[in-house]
């Protein structure tokens, strides 16, 4: 049979349990804006039962544990999609810069090509004119400057992306260290059987940050520690230790190679910013630079060949109009590309009479100027299918298509990620309305427990008074 003092104990347990629940509510409300926070709730259960003459009766309430609302599958999907989204974002940001390097209109390569070949057309009107010869050389220098500028800007973008790879690897190592530290803390904290919810939230946030950088895979061991790997299985975190990656500059360009221990994992990284940076640095920019170099080299060769067939005003065969692209030397001296090295023969700039406008040696002969102007209409690129202008337009089309594709993929990826984050928040996020309701519920329960204790206290007092106390 229960006693009044036992009832007082039930009241005490109710007070304590609801006070704890109010603390949980308060903590939830405080962390409403904490990234990665998973809402918690007190799990109430009836305390042990005691035998009475009428049967078993509970001995009040107790908080069994503080549980977190978490869906590991959704969190895993968030991590996976973050990798893809970050990869596309890195690619789009770089491509967006690149597409502005190759614009149409005044001052660009396309304009430079047009103005250069047009200048020969004008020279053909009056081939001995010193002013028109200077105009040809000026247009040639503008063309060289536009090629140099485009190639230099592409190389600078490549270099900037390369530095970003090193920065990202450094961030990966810091985050991996943080995960390892938290693994250790979680193992210790959960050794007593309680869930280290806050630490887990924090660790999940680090994993999410990691996934924005590289293609992480992870699983949870029985002791609660995360084992994290990158690039298809290279260990990054094992329990309470991390295996840092390294970014090692390789070759004359100093392109960073990402290594796990001694293994080169650069081409194995398939997600996160780093994968996007590598794709831009090693695939996209070299392709664009290659196309630009091919265009520049073809112009240099075609113009030089035709120029050599002509005769200058001094009666000599035409010298090289443009300086030939230097063959790659060993060791490679940068920059080596035709676009980057595009330059006009200084001898011609110094003496415009060396422009070979004719073919007979007569000053009024414009045959070679006409032939040089005619090169603009000859399909010499892409296996004889494109003129110079069409070749550059094709490069613009490729860059535009790549950028547009990256943007569309990024938009689609972002929508998927947003949906997953919403699903994650739907499970784990804090709702103020819910917390307000809980606040009222627990407050009322607490007030009821207080009233109950007060009533029992009064009853106890009455009994003591009845016995002449």
């Amino acid at each position: 049979m229960g006693s009044l003092f036992a009832s007082l104990d039930i009241g005490r347990k109710s007070l304590q349990s609801h006070q704890l629940a109010l603390q949980v509510t308060s903590n939830n409300m405080s962390n409403i804006n904490t990234p990665g926070y998973s809402r918690q709730h007190a799990v109430f259960e009836t305390d042990f039962s005691v035998q009475t003459s009428a049967g078993l009766i509970g001995s009040g309430v107790t908080v069994k544990n503080i549980a977190s609302a978490r869906d590991q599958f959704i969190e895993l999907r968030v991590v996976e999609e973050t990798q893809h989204t970050s990869e596309q974002e890195a690619m789009f940001n770089a491509l967006d810069q690149i597409q502005r390097i190759l614009p149409s209109g005044s001052g660009g390569v396309q304009d430079g090509i047009s103005q250069f070949f047009n200048s020969f057309s004008t020279l053909a009107n009056n081939p001995e004119s010193s002013a028109l010869r200077n105009a040809v050389l000026s247009a040639a220098q503008n063309l060289a400057t536009s090629f140099n500028g485009a190639a230099r800007q592409l190389e600078e973008t490549q270099s900037s992306v390369n530095r970003s790879i090193e920065d990202a690897v450094n961030k990966v190592n810091i985050l991996a260290g943080n995960v390892a530290t938290l693994n250790q803390e979680i193992i210790v904290a959960e050794g007593g059987g309680t869930e280290a919810s806050g630490l887990r939230d924090q660790r999940q946030e680090y994993i999410k940050e990691l996934s924005s950088l590289v293609d992480v895979r992870y699983y949870e061991a029985q002791d609660g520690a995360f084992y994290v790997s990158v690039a298809g299985g290279h260990s990054l975190v094992s329990g309470n230790t991390s295996q840092p990656l390294s970014a090692v500059p390789v070759g004359i360009q100093g392109h960073f190679e990402v290594r796990s221990g001694v293994n080169n994992i650069t081409n194995l990284i398939s997600g996160g910013e780093v994968a996007g940076f590598i794709e831009i640095r090693d695939q996209k920019i070299p392709t664009y630079l290659g196309d630009l170099d091919t265009l520049a080299n073809t112009i240099i060769n075609q113009v030089n060949t035709q120029h050599a067939l002509g005769t200058d005003l001094l009666g000599n065969a035409g010298a090289n109009f443009f300086n030939p692209t230097p063959a790659p030397a060993a060791p490679l001296v940068l920059p080596a590309g035709a676009a980057r090295n595009f330059s006009v023969n200084a001898a011609l700039v110094a003496d415009p009479r060396l422009v070979a406008a004719g073919q007979s040696g007569e000053a009024g002969d414009n045959a070679n100027a006409l032939a040089l102007a005619g090169l603009a209409a000859v399909k010499t690129l892409n296996g004889g299918n494109e003129t110079f202008a069409e070749g550059f337009a094709s490069l613009q089309f490729r860059v535009g298509t790549d950028t547009q594709g990256a943007k569309r993929t990024l938009d689609a990826q972002s929508a998927v990620l947003t949906q997953l984050q919403n699903q994650r928040d739907s499970v784990s996020g804090v709702s103020l309305d819910e917390e307000a309701l809980d606040l009222v519920r627990f407050q009322r329960a607490y007030q009821a427990a207080t009233k109950f204790i007060s009533t029992i206290d009064q009853l106890t007092g009455d009994i003591i008074a009845a016995f002449g106390g």
Binding site: D96, S104, G105, F117, D365, G400, T418, G429, D433
Partner: protein
């Protein structure tokens, strides 16, 4: 599905960002007048416009060069006309010499007239256009293209044609060489020398021979004039075609890259409304909380 403040604010911010991006795009189109401002706006249109721009620039250069060529051919034509007048003058003088009523004095005057005509022809033969001899071929003589040796002359030029490309596929000869006009027999300067001698000698047979030569030369000049006229016509036709082509290219560029302003303004207004509604609804949602109703 539980809807938490974080979901609401994320969705709100992303929707707002998308709508503002639409506004930004519409504003960009309105201020630039172009639908394609960067390559990724429409890669196909941007690539096509770039190619068109190159062709249009080439056409514009051809048009400018052809305008100059047209002036040159016009000048060449008027020079030939002057030459025809000089030859007609010589023919008139020769006819007078054959009239049978000439005296020694009148023959001397006629001979003097032929000398004057020859000087005119020599001057025409040394005509320059923009500082360049019109009839010296591709050669640029240090002095005159035709030097008078009286009798006879020396030609310091060559027989090389000069060509100009009117467009990508049409090339036209822009000159008549001194050899073709004045050098080939009957050479007008020699004819005039011989005519003067014939008049001085009162030799009707020789005068008739030179009159026939004058006629032959006159026919040659007229034939060359007709060729120049055809070239002028070809240049004019090409100019019209090039201008037409550039207009078509401009229209095509406009179709590819220009903004439809009505559409842009409409897009902007829709996005503007969407932003206002979105901000207003979010502000109201933010104010709704159960906490406000609890005592």
């Amino acid at each position: 599905m539980r809807v938490t403040p974080s979901i609401q604010s994320r969705n709100f911010l992303e929707d707002l960002a998308r709508t503002k991006a639409r506004m930004d795009k519409a504003q960009d189109e309105m201020s630039s007048g172009r639908r394609v401002n960067i390559l990724s706006d429409d890669p196909y249109a941007a690539g096509q416009a770039s190619e068109i721009e190159a062709v249009s620039s080439e056409n514009t250069e051809y048009i400018s060069n052809n305008d100059q060529l047209s002036s040159k051919l016009g000048f060449l034509d008027s020079t030939l006309q002057r030459l025809v007048l000089s030859v007609e003058n010589a023919q008139t003088l020769a006819a007078q010499a054959l009239s049978g009523t000439t005296t020694a004095e009148s023959r001397a005057a006629l001979s003097e007239g032929i000398t004057g005509t020859r000087k005119q022809v020599l001057s025409i033969a040394n005509t320059q256009y923009n500082g360049v001899f019109l009839f010296s071929g591709t050669h640029r003589p240090a002095a005159d293209a035709f030097t008078d040796n009286a009798p006879g002359f020396t030609y310091d030029g060559n027989d090389d044609a000069i060509y100009q490309r009117l467009d990508r596929s049409t090339t036209v000869q822009t000159n008549i060489t001194g050899q073709d006009l004045f050098g080939d027999p009957p050479a007008i300067l020699d004819v005039l020398d011989d005519l003067k001698t014939a008049i001085d000698n009162n030799d009707p047979t020789a005068i008739r021979t030179e009159m026939a030569n004058l006629e032959t030369f006159s026919n040659r000049v007229n034939a060359l004039g007709a060729i120049v006229g055809e070239r002028v016509q070809l240049v004019d036709q090409t100019q019209a075609r090039l201008r037409e082509h550039n207009l078509a290219l401009k229209k095509e560029t406009s179709r590819l890259t220009d903004a439809n302003l009505v559409e842009s303004i409409s897009d902007f207004n829709l996005a503007d409304q969407a932003v206002k509604v979105s901000l207003s609804s979010q502000a109201r949602i933010e104010q709704l909380s159960l906490l406000d109703y609890l005592r």
